[in-house]
Symmetry: C4
Subunit: 215 residues, 4 copies
Amino acid sequence: MASDEDDDPTDAGTANSTSRLEAFSDGVFAIAITLLVLDLSVRPSESPLRGVLEAWPIFLAYVVSFLTIGAAWLGHTGLTDRLTRADPLFMRLNLLLLLFVAFLPFPTRLVAGALDDIDEERVYATMYGLTLLGIRIFGFLLDEYALRERLYSKAHVSAELEQERRTILPVVGGYVIAILVGLVAPRVAVGVYCVIGIYLVVPFREVHRLLFRRS
Amino acid sequence: MASDEDDDPTDAGTANSTSRLEAFSDGVFAIAITLLVLDLSVRPSESPLRGVLEAWPIFLAYVVSFLTIGAAWLGHTGLTDRLTRADPLFMRLNLLLLLFVAFLPFPTRLVAGALDDIDEERVYATMYGLTLLGIRIFGFLLDEYALRERLYSKAHVSAELEQERRTILPVVGGYVIAILVGLVAPRVAVGVYCVIGIYLVVPFREVHRLLFRRS
Amino acid sequence: MASDEDDDPTDAGTANSTSRLEAFSDGVFAIAITLLVLDLSVRPSESPLRGVLEAWPIFLAYVVSFLTIGAAWLGHTGLTDRLTRADPLFMRLNLLLLLFVAFLPFPTRLVAGALDDIDEERVYATMYGLTLLGIRIFGFLLDEYALRERLYSKAHVSAELEQERRTILPVVGGYVIAILVGLVAPRVAVGVYCVIGIYLVVPFREVHRLLFRRS
Amino acid sequence: MASDEDDDPTDAGTANSTSRLEAFSDGVFAIAITLLVLDLSVRPSESPLRGVLEAWPIFLAYVVSFLTIGAAWLGHTGLTDRLTRADPLFMRLNLLLLLFVAFLPFPTRLVAGALDDIDEERVYATMYGLTLLGIRIFGFLLDEYALRERLYSKAHVSAELEQERRTILPVVGGYVIAILVGLVAPRVAVGVYCVIGIYLVVPFREVHRLLFRRS
């Protein structure tokens, strides 16, 4: 029955939609990742060097958000590599993913600016964690939807996807635990978000391959 | 007579113009939708949690503007899918559409920041509604112009466009009524803008298809 | 002798360079035109409506800058339509054009914020005019360079370019006169910039064609 | 052994990855270079003209950062021109390059705003220099990695790359010396960064060719 929709005349324009989907998404990812810099600041301190050093939580939040958006973008390129066409619902789910990506600079700013007051830290670290979780979950939903609606080319559906699905559970689990931990110890939570960000971006298998190739 | 212009040697470069039209438009849509985050803020309150919860009108305005720009972008991708070439006037009409899109973050900020004073709410909600209306009207004019000047490929002109034209009247009507209501009850107007935004973005037919496919 | 360089193996990658030249330029144009919105603001006034109405110089500066960047983008699409390849110097001249385009939001902000003090108005309107002039002059230099270095496809070099060259002198002349006038009467100068912006964007011939086609 | 990976089925989607790599990178470069304008400002002074003239360090920092990002973008276009495919590690190294590019507006703002206090000047000029150095080093690493992993098309690997490698040592050396000088005389360091920026952007060979072609 679903194959009926595949013959829809609207599909003629699909190739174009995919290219604009990519261009618009690249735009939002690139802008969100670059806007993070606007919220960096150094507070007045005894000396300028101390001011910069004391601003470490701001730099940490910057790096975590940069890594998370970077990882989401990397995942998104993998996703559109597999994609042969996009349907209206896919475009909307993608918009929801971008809503979370574009929103991230806000909790980043709150977390970065709040590390003096434990109550602020708790509330803002929770908001931050929920946004990071939202990015991951909508990335996963997009993948699941594309798979179920057969928007992917068959060549890609096997190994690559398998592996991606294997990482979603530990990552989502890590975020949920960190959000809960953050209700008590928000700085620990931000540390965990940093570790997850690094885990998502560093291609351990590739690094391993590179290091041991010549032995 | 119009066909004379179709043989214009300038048309050789049209394919390129269309791709830059898309790239530039995608850029403006993506930037405007991402810049919205810069105006998010939490005012000092008794507790940080209350501060976040009391900021709901700011988040609501953010979501409404995000949905409206998202819907305008979706409509624009449909439009360029149908487009076979662009002429100088089309490029300018598109610039006017982008003027309203790029302007939207300003009334969004005013509405979001004004929800304490009924006079401010009235004036800013009206500005907001007029901008939303402008986006929709120029999107419609672009469509009409492309149709009249035969810039669309014939394959697309039938069903898809018919359906789009059927929605323009209720949407414009909804905006006009909400703007008038907003002169008295600005918060109600913002609620209506939110409903229209959801209506424009949610693909009810697709959702229906998805839910009832397996029954 | 120049033809030797044309056989340069580097030229193999030229097609790609042109596409990135377009993407990067579209990005800068789109961002500069959208960033203008960040400097819009309404000063406190007796009533919110008065505040909005008294902010007319801010809106005027916004529209003039939007039109000028829009016109520069339109000119740039024409230019890359004609382009068959880009050489290193062309890429750098283009960077200089983008320097002026990316700079424009700054004098726009100064002009918009200064309309209470005649000295400020004079200085800032001059800076504004010089930036507008710089955009036009570097757009022209880019065109001239591409023509002299035979970067254009022959099909386009004739009529289109001729016409563009005919407008450069009156436009540059208009800017120079307005800059001089602005030393005495800065508001008049901003008015002239607005008129030039409209002149650059409105395609009078196309409008004429459209209006008189059916008579 | 490395050739085994070349047959990886993942490579089917490589063309697309490269195009999104370029689009995303162009986005970040374009946004970072345009965001610089947001930090321009004129401090209150006796007269508006003096205010503008006294703001010269701000304009200088703006131009240096614009040139540096421009040069990094030019280098990046050369790099992707040579590229036939991208692998996961290349994508991540590119993200690190973009991290430094996107970060640059922050030390630019610090340097531009600090030129009254020698301690601030020292600390911020050092941060600025380290960021400029980071951009160059990661650009170089990207090049080296692509070369070693044979991501480049063979046609390009010879002359062009040779020449680029010849400039990396003096440029990195220049930055290191300027950073050390900046610990004592930060303004001199910023002057050197400006000279390096001009050196990186101005295509002396091309200018020479142009000037002496007709003799």
